[in-house]
């Protein structure tokens, strides 16, 4: 982590509405190059929505998103990818009928990576997809499809990477392995936002966490401090346990 580095992403007062419902209700946070930021919160607190807005899937209804100092709120996803933002999906979304290698080839051809990404063969090896490179993505299991989402993202050489529950469904050995991989990416200078319910995993890899509740950040700091915060305990355990 490089705590002194200027933030690459600044989110301030972000609002996203679905009908009358505020999925994001004034969310603010930032992340710096080389930093791993955890985004935690109960189900439905707006973590995925935050990633969707930052990656251009939805336009914000209020507030500001700045990437490398430039406002990017409402820009189309492919433009954000070209600028250096990429992500994985909570429910993996590979191109099912294309082969694993073709999935990555599309991103290599259209991602406009500013710095050359590693060769495909190496990327696939690194994320344990080498042996299935010629198979249709539909043949992969869910964990492999998540890795394919990740490899597709890495093929565009992002400077900001958003990981939505990448670790869910992995066994302990795989968790250790992917934690090391994510740390290595950050060590190379990538800013990474990790959404995860597994607190052990968050503890292991993040430098700092943001706790979300009802679309708002209610805590910012170390996870160890977060779990001592009454307000955080309350949203995770529910009202009657907290007092």
């Amino acid at each position: 982590m490089s705590p002194d580095a200027a933030p690459i992403l600044n989110v301030a007062g972000l609002v996203k509405r679905f009908g009358g419902f505020h999925a994001l209700d004034g969310l603010s946070f930032h992340v710096a190059p080389g930093e791993i930021l955890g985004l935690v919160g109960p189900n439905g607190s707006g973590k995925t929505t935050a990633i969707n807005v930052v990656s251009g899937l939805y336009a914000p209804d209020g507030g500001e998103v700045r990437f490398e100092g430039q406002p990017i709120g409402g820009l189309a996803s492919h433009r954000l990818v070209h600028r250096g933002i990429n992500r994985t999906f909570q429910v993996p979304k590979p191109f099912m009928s294309l082969t694993v290698r073709e999935n990555v080839d599309v991103a290599l051809a259209y991602g406009r990576a500013r710095t050359a990404p590693p060769p495909v063969a190496q990327l696939l090896e690194d994320y344990r997809l080498g042996e299935v490179a010629a198979r249709p993505a539909a043949d992969l299991n869910s964990a492999q499809q998540k890795m394919l989402d990740l490899v597709r993202a890495l093929a565009t050489a992002p400077r900001l990477l958003l990981l939505d529950e990448l670790a869910a469904g992995l066994n302990p050995a795989e968790l250790d392995w992917i934690a090391q991989r994510i740390k290595a990416l950050a060590a190379a200078g990538m800013a990474i936002i990790v959404v995860e319910h597994l607190m052990g995993f968050i503890e292991q890899i993040t430098d700092r966490v943001i706790v979300l509740n009802a679309g708002r950040d209610i805590f910012e700091g170390k996870l160890a401090a977060a779990v001592k915060e009454p307000q955080v305990i309350e949203v995770f355990l529910g009202g009657e346990h907290a007092r």
């Binding site: 899937l57 189309a76 979304k93 009928s97 294309l98 599309v106 597709r152």
Partner: protein
């Protein structure tokens, strides 16, 4: 040898050669011409449906618009036929541009809206109030340009262009990106693909193909009515042929046309009384047992189909 060259040499050239010499050895010139037209239209459907997933139920709209584009250029501007065919292609593209808002719809909604659009164009062309321009419902007669031999050759040129486009799609990252958009537009955007632009390019390319086909068709038949060139059969046949063979391949739509249109004419000649029945059963069988087309028999075994 790169795959693209191989596909051109082993699939496109032989097919064109067969249809180029066929009129010398086979008498039924119109039948050969219709084969060429359906080869073009089935590949046009392949471009838009196979590579992007939009099912163009009103595909004939571009074809009919192209035919009338040709007729209007010849009747009112005395354009030479070959040039008028190009104009027919432009008319197809312009109609495609006008209909781009349809691309916001998906699935059955797109198919239905496209069908409605083709009917709207038919009724516009056939409107008696436009008689001075389109000859309205009374049909056009273009005896001045009548020349089946040349029109047939022009159809072969259009077929060559169309096949060339499909070979390119099958072998380029552009074609791969289109398929990515078909599979998952959100993920395609995360691969850096401009989804809206890609859909638009495929849509206009397939509109161009149908417009050109309509132009050569008008040139060939020279006398036709709105109901002829806007007949829903063109859309249905082109779609069924393409699906029967298998889309997103070069070979699928070709095999589909050769087999299904071949059988269609065979039954039509030999046992016309059972014609509808046999044809209907054949298509039902296809949908039930081979929903991904004939080519899926090979891809299921892990063979690569060009």
């Amino acid at each position: 040898m790169p795959k693209l060259v191989k596909h051109l040499l082993l699939i496109v050239l032989p097919l064109l050669a067969v249809f180029a010499v066929a009129p010398a050895v086979y008498q039924n010139h119109l039948l050969l011409f219709n084969f060429v037209i359906f080869l073009i239209l089935a590949q046009g459907v392949n471009i838009i449906y196979g590579f992007t997933g939009y099912l163009p139920f009103g595909y004939v709209g571009f074809f009919g618009a192209g035919a009338y584009g040709f007729a209007i250029m010849v009747m009112h501007l005395q354009m030479p036929a070959a040039l008028a065919v190009l104009a027919a292609g432009v008319v197809g593209v312009v109609l495609g541009l006008l209909l781009t808002p349809l691309l916001r719809l998906t699935g059955a909604y797109f198919a239905i809206a496209n069908l409605a659009a083709s009917l709207a164009v038919l009724h516009l062309v056939a409107n008696p109030a436009l008689e001075s321009i389109t000859k309205g419902p009374y049909g056009v007669s273009l005896t001045g340009t009548f020349n089946p031999t040349l029109a047939y050759e022009a159809a072969l040129v259009v077929l060559a262009l169309t096949l060339g486009a499909v070979v390119y799609l099958r072998n380029s990252s552009f074609g791969l990106a289109l398929q990515a958009v078909r599979e998952d537009p959100v993920s395609a955007a995360m691969a850096g693909v401009d989804v809206v632009r890609m859909r638009m390019v495929a849509w206009l390319a397939s509109a161009l193909v149908a417009g050109l086909a309509g132009g050569v068709y008008a040139w060939y038949v020279s006398v036709f009515y709105p109901d002829n060139v806007f007949s829903g059969e063109f859309s249905i046949f082109a779609i069924v042929f393409a699906l029967f063979g298998g889309v997103a391949t070069i070979l699928g739509p070709i095999v589909g046309v050769l087999i299904l249109y071949g059988v269609y004419n065979l039954i039509g000649f030999t046992t016309p009384q059972y014609f509808q029945l046999i044809y209907g059963l054949l298509i039902m069988g296809l949908v039930l047992f081979l929903p991904a087309g004939l080519m899926s028999l090979a891809t299921r075994r892990g063979w690569h189909v060009p």
